[in-house]
Symmetry: C2
């Protein structure tokens, strides 16, 4: 299938723009019905969609069924949020008579759907971060039409899900422009979408390189628009001696499971392990190496991602100051997990070691003191997550460690592994650069809607308008 032509892309956007006003004015009931209808349709077509996804991504039926469940759960969760009134919340300040600064008119702060959203699907979550994933669900919930840029890694699945979505939109009597999709492997397709004057915001999940390039396009438009990019991270795990003593080999196995989950193709995959320079910690690293050696990941998503992984592994192997802990035979079809080791000083001074290796690979950084841990975290600068094992107690060492983690991450874990991102109101998936381009926003969880609702203060607004905004 050839790339969509400039005319097709323009038509998709203008159709979305034509639907924007009507969709922005829908009742909570109408909006929730679409989100739930999409969830129902995904589940109804599970038997068709999962095999299609597996053939195109190699992720396996178990994982893909779980991902479809999550995607439907998420659509219904946003429906609940809409019915609970989240997009229609307002702050209403009554008028105060008298001169300023205390005197004031009535001001009512509402939120207005921003307009058509361009949504770039990711390759590594063919359901949850693709056509009907979190970005689409949150934009629709916010009252914005969506134009999806399909990921070329799973074209048949994307078409099947888009067809399903368009059928639900039509069945509910909604304008076709509420949901549209364009296709194309060429960068020009995405660039045209981001540059289109009628696109009001962009949501992107993918590589640092692709995301940075599209962000530049968004910033350089005659009228710049928000670019919400989630560009990956190295997700440090700090394993303090107490946690290692308590967790032992089981903890090492848990970590190996997180590193190899989905063949390491998670934006929250732990890419750095920070341990102390003591015998128990180094034994833990050995247990991790053994657990990784026993793991048998599936194939990667496509040849380009595999080539990227092999290049990243080569970069590590050849890096001065990095030792190879697990360097198994080169996997023919599936890659073998890798484990590397270095010291704090080498890590801090080398920017190359702060770059994500997308795939089942982890770099162990051995530190000699709590202060070195802080310095290693500071060198990371920005990450989706930091995991702190053994930092639960309120101590003089733990307090600065927690602050250092908060400073660089959108999510700080005190237990468990960073892979697996719950869809809740409190979730924050997005951290300081380079993890995301707008670290004050999240692409997972119900606060994701906020990205598409711009605040407007209505001054001395008539009662009927305030009532309509509240959808009460």
């Amino acid at each position: 299938m050839p790339d969509h032509t400039p005319e097709q892309i323009d038509r998709a956007v203008t159709t979305a723009a034509a639907a924007a006003d009507a969709w922005a004015r829908t009742t909570p009931q109408t909006r929730a019905a679409l989100l739930r209808g999409l969830a129902d349709a995904l589940e109804a077509e599970r038997e068709t969609l999962v095999p299609l996804a597996d053939a195109e991504t190699s992720l396996g039926a178990a994982r893909l069924n779980g991902e479809l469940d999550r995607t439907a759960f998420q659509l219904r969760g946003f429906a609940d949020q809409v019915l609970a009134g989240a997009p229609f919340m307002m702050t209403d300040d009554t008028a105060v008579p008298g001169p300023p600064p205390a005197g004031r008119p009535r001001l009512t702060r509402v939120r207005v759907p921003v307009g058509p959203v361009a949504m770039f699907a990711a390759s590594n979550f063919p359901f949850a971060f693709s056509v009907l994933g979190g970005d689409t669900a949150s934009a629709l919930a916010a009252g914005c039409p969506v134009v999806v840029k399909a990921h070329p890694g799973h074209p048949e699945l994307s078409r099947a899900v888009a067809t399903l979505a368009q059928r639900v939109v039509a069945a509910q009597g909604l304008p076709a422009g509420v949901f549209g999709m364009v296709e194309g492997a060429a960068a020009a397709v995405g660039v045209q979408l981001v540059r289109h004057p009628l696109i009001a915001a962009v949501a992107f999940t993918g590589s640092y390189r692709g995301g940075s390039a599209l962000q530049r396009e968004a910033n350089e438009r005659p009228r710049p628009i928000p670019f919400y990019g989630e560009l990956g991270a190295i997700n440090p795990v700090v394993a303090l001696p107490a946690a290692i003593a308590a967790g032992g080999a089981a903890l090492a196995a848990t970590l190996a499971g997180s590193i190899t989950l989905g063949c390491g193709q998670f934006c929250t995959s732990p890419g750095v392990l920070i341990v102390h320079d003591d015998a128990a910690s180094q034994a833990f690293v050995q247990q991790l190496a053994e657990a990784l050696g026993a793991a048998t990941p599936h194939r990667m998503l496509h040849a380009g991602i595999r080539a990227g992984f092999d290049a990243g592994v080569m970069r590590m192997q050849q890096h001065r100051g990095v030792r190879v802990l697990a360097a198994p035979e080169h996997g023919e079809t599936a890659p073998r997990p890798r484990l590397f080791a270095t010291d704090a000083a080498s890590f801090i001074e080398s920017e190359a070691l702060h770059e994500e290796v997308f795939g089942p690979s982890c770099l162990v950084v051995t530190v000699k003191s709590p202060d070195e841990t802080l310095a290693v975290l500071q060198a990371v600068q920005g990450s989706l997550t930091v995991t702190l094992w053994g930092a639960e107690a309120d101590t003089a060492d733990n307090r600065p460690l927690i602050r250092a983690a908060e400073r660089i991450a959108g999510r700080v874990l005190f237990a468990g592994v960073p892979t697996g991102v719950a869809v809740t109101a409190a979730q924050q998936h997005g951290g300081p650069w380079p993890a995301s381009t707008q670290p004050f926003t999240t692409s997972v969880g119900y606060a994701a809607m906020d990205r598409f609702l711009r605040p407007v203060a209505l001054q001395d607004a008539p009662a009927w308008l305030i009532e309509a905004k509240g959808q009460a």
Copy 2:
């Protein structure tokens, strides 16, 4: 006084960074005490500060006393917000047992002060948008140290206010880095500040040109940071026939007062008036021209701003399709207000007419239909405000008009004039590009704090940490 040297600027930022952790961890009481102490000190030194401000800005004692009142009111308002817990609010999702997607760990969404904020003072509000203005107040309230870049338009006042602030910081036993200031007329001073690796966010109020240049610097850092720029607007006023019939000459006088307020040097100054093509509306325009002719504004802030106004007036006068309605003698020391007129088609097709003329000038756009009004507003693209006079009723003409206004503005007024921005929780001062660089945020009102508080999700956090975050 020469520009601050690179060493002085670096010292100001590193001192702020050294204070960041301690200030972020202050109790609500400590933070509120500083904000109230600053308000008290400003009021106590009123008799010194207002004459200093008047000598440097020509804005007059009445206005400057009012502005000092507003600045103190604002500092105390943020103190109240801090005591009410606004920066410490959290979303706490309890754990749900069972497998995902419904099962989940406990997630607690908190907000973390972003770190040292570089704050660029404006020339046109020497108190309210300068050294201790809204940006400083909101950053301090959020728990971030501030490094002010003083505006060279009022250097003596800036130094006096900075000295006062540093005295209050010291008297309260706080680290000196909580508040700092650098000076310099050269662009390099601001650029160094924005590029400094320890600066975490930038707040700017000023010109489109200066703001765009600094935003580029913020985006092109190795680690980009949020740039919150408020760059001005043309603030259309739509005067519908019903409002003109009801308001008459008094309404024209009110509008003339808003256009000439502070010699037109307000970012919310009404620069475009949209009226219908009927006799009463054109009579209203004539009344406006007369009221403007009778107005006697004071001098502008400085020679550069005056030169910019004269150039803008020249641009209007020479523009094809623009008629001159009020072209009085050239004022020797103070400029004379100007009124120009054009038709919808000329306005829509010429980008030059969408540019702000900073000063007492307004362009009347006559429309032939409600649809032409929508097209004129759409051509404006982004503005801090849109004022709709006579659009209170729920009619088929008013509904799309209100939507068109919401689409391009951060504040939509149904009565009164756009100059004068109340400091409340509901306020939104910031609209789509080019009005502001981050139109989802506000630089006036209590939501201004949100710009400096980055969300972080704590997963399975210990109880003591959640309690400390809540400051309960």
